[in-house]
């Protein structure tokens, strides 16, 4: 039927092949530039020059659905400021929508939002980089120093690069030791104050009340909850785009061993607290759970549906040999002012209001990074009467205990942990066995984004 086809097509194929080969070899020779992507130019402190300002011009604000009502409240309180509100994902759950869009805007030279909220605490790393960084250094005559000083100690760390502050922190997610007071009383246990006591209690629980849990190691934020608190050098930046990763440090291995012991005993789960299986079968058996401040309402109240008056928070644990207890931090949103904004004044005012005002932050869902707002917030939390004990002293204390040796990086520690370590744990390996693989994964990822790793 089509016997002529193969012959002609074979000939054509040969011609095409010759042409392609020729083109490829030409191309291989034709290189006249280096294929290396432009090394990201680090912004020098003197580099920031605002664009020509237009007083009273409209500002565009990007925020997630949770933050939009706050922006609307600001709009209501300031009717003469022209604001265009755009709802977007807010970079929640590891999305990088803001970065993707800013990359495109950088290409066309227009479109940047004047103000942007991001739920990803790592977003400052890219927003402060590049030829013209997206984020404006707000400490350079945009937001007064007195305002910046009102934030909790270390709260602005994920925003500070080369001595400049590129964003304001919306909320903190400082880790505390959550526990079920009713269960602890019922079993006759004392709340631990050190990791050693925690481990001993975990082993005891496994024997006396099998099935009850003192922690989870399958969450994406396990590194921030356990390893950060252990002062593990998994993510220590030592300069612009320089990071130290050393998971064989004793401060890392001690936490890995602790978790391995409790996983083997069965009192630390390999599951994640938000999985349906966990909610269904294990939620009511959580005796203790080191975790961020938002666990209280978001996890125990809304998700686990633990009744009122059972859950309480204790101070972060310390290792016996250490002088002081430290804790980690799981996320926390950021507000950026665009360096391309034509109305920096309005943008700065909005960002200041969103992060510091009692009117908004006092009733927000998460712990405010601004100290004064946090006081109001804690008073409101007390009014809900959900917790068995007032969480205020513990929350305030732990907000200042975040170990400064763990830095925000352009890559997400959470993504690396859940895609590398969690599958290994579930295939029966121990954390200690996995440290090398984990280290390699962090190192590779960091290098691929232009970091120098040592």
């Amino acid at each position: 039927m089509n016997d002529d086809v193969p012959v002609s097509s074979r000939r054509r194929l040969r011609h095409t092949a010759v042409a392609v080969l020729g083109a490829v070899s030409l191309l291989a020779l034709a290189a006249c530039g280096s294929a290396d992507p432009t090394p990201p130019a680090t912004s020098s402190p003197a580099a920031f020059k605002p664009v020509a300002q237009q007083q009273g011009s409209e500002i565009t604000v990007w925020a997630d659905a949770t933050r939009v009502p706050g922006v609307q409240a600001y709009q209501k309180a300031h009717p003469n400021v022209k604001i265009k509100i755009v709802t977007y994902s807010g970079d929640a759950n590891g999305a990088n929508d803001l970065q993707a869009k800013v990359q495109l805007f950088d290409r066309t030279g227009s479109g940047w939002p004047d103000v942007a909220f991001s739920a990803n605490v790592n977003d400052g790393t890219w927003a402060s980089q590049g030829k013209t960084p997206y984020a404006a250094p707000v400490n350079r005559d945009i937001i007064p120093k007195t305002t910046l000083d009102g934030f909790s100690d270390g709260a602005l760390d994920p925003c500070v690069f080369n001595g400049n502050t590129y964003c304001l922190r919306n909320d903190l997610a400082q880790n505390v030791l959550w526990y079920n007071k009713s269960l602890m009383d019922k079993f006759g246990y004392k709340v631990p104050t050190t990791w050693e006591e925690y481990q001993a209690l975990g082993e005891k629980v496994a024997e006396e009340h099998p099935g009850y849990l003192v922690g989870t190691a399958g969450d994406a934020w396990t590194p921030e909850v356990y390893f950060w608190a252990s002062q593990c050098t998994a993510s220590t930046t030592t300069g612009a785009r320089k990071v130290t990763v050393n998971l064989q440090d004793p401060k890392c291995t001690r936490m890995a061993k602790l978790l391995d012991t409790l996983i083997a005993k069965g009192s630390v789960s390999k599951d994640t607290v938000f999985s349906a299986g966990f909610i269904k079968n294990q939620a009511s058996k959580v005796l203790m759970l080191p975790g961020p401040s938002w666990f209280g309402q978001v996890l125990f109240n809304s998700t686990f549906k633990i009744p009122k008056g059972q859950i309480a928070a204790a101070s972060p644990l310390k290792f016996e040999g250490d002088a002081k207890n430290y804790t980690g931090n799981v996320g926390g949103g950021l507000w950026f002012v665009s360096s391309h904004s034509k109305n920096l004044k309005a943008a700065a005012d909005l960002v200041t209001w969103m992060t510091t005002s009692d009117a908004y932050q006092g009733t927000a869902g998460t712990y405010p990074a601004y100290k004064k707002a946090a006081v109001t917030w804690l008073a409101n939390q007390k009014k809900t009467g959900y917790f068995a004990e007032d969480v205020s002293p513990v929350f305030k204390e732990s907000a200042e205990l975040i170990w400064p040796g763990w830095s925000a990086t352009q890559y997400s520690q959470e993504a690396i942990y859940s895609s590398t370590v969690v599958p290994a744990l579930n295939s029966g390996k121990t954390l200690t066995d996995t440290l090398d693989t984990w280290q390699t994964a962090i190192t590779n990822k960091a290098k691929s984004l232009g970091y120098t790793v040592n």
Binding site: A92, T108, A119, F274, P292, T366
Partner: protein
Amino acid sequence: MRRKRRPSSLAARLAWLIVMGLSVLFFCVPVVWLLLAPTKTDGQIVRDNPFSFGSLGAVADAWHHLYAFQDGAIITWLLNSALYTFGALAITLVTSIPAGYALALTRFIGRRMLLTITMLVMLMPTAAMVLPLYLGMNAVHLDGTIWSVILPFSFFPFGVYLTYIYFSSNVPSDLLAAARIDGCSEWQVFRLIAMPLAKPVIALVGFFNFVGNWNNFFLPFVMLPDSSQYPAQVGLNNLLAASPLFNTSSGAGNQIMRPELALATLVTIVPVLIVFLFSQRALVSGMLAGATKE
């Protein structure tokens, strides 16, 4: 028209039943679960039997929560989606059906090249096209308008190929030759002979174009700067991101949980199912008309 073919033996009939039964289970069990999900509360979805029925009251609650999200944004998303997809559908049908016809049943210089280029472009990963498309739209100052979504949506090489294969294997060229000898112009041949036979392929092309665009997330996400322009998929993404399930920083008191997400999913697929049912009808009746062609 179609006679029921009798399987030769009981074993064959049994095998048919088993394969079909398993397939129906495979394709439908998750859908049934999804249909039941909005009738339950979030806790029931996780804790109860997956196939239990909650109550209709729960559906109403879920709808209230969903509707309250951004003051009824879900309706805006659906209307936007409808605007983009139907706009694109019209342009797609007007351009791809004649093109597929011409590629199959007329001869012109460059026909093979056009087929090859179409194939080549179709194989290009869409992720790579985003930046060029965005820059292109920006260059002609269409970025941010609805055209930046509708026009790329209308480019549908898949449909051109479907039409091409359909015409080249189903419509005998003798039929067209006869019409030409009778003095029909090319336009008349297309309109009077080809079009009536093309009903099934129009249904197919229209359907796949509609579904592809309705479910497209990335292009509108990149092109549209304003949340009031978002179509359903981009809106759903925001809805997911606002749910405490996926956004730990959303705080307590957010009403978007599993039942609301399930309901939102169901609401956004209803249009697709309606279009499917319509195009199925055209497909079947059209195929029957096609079967009597000789």
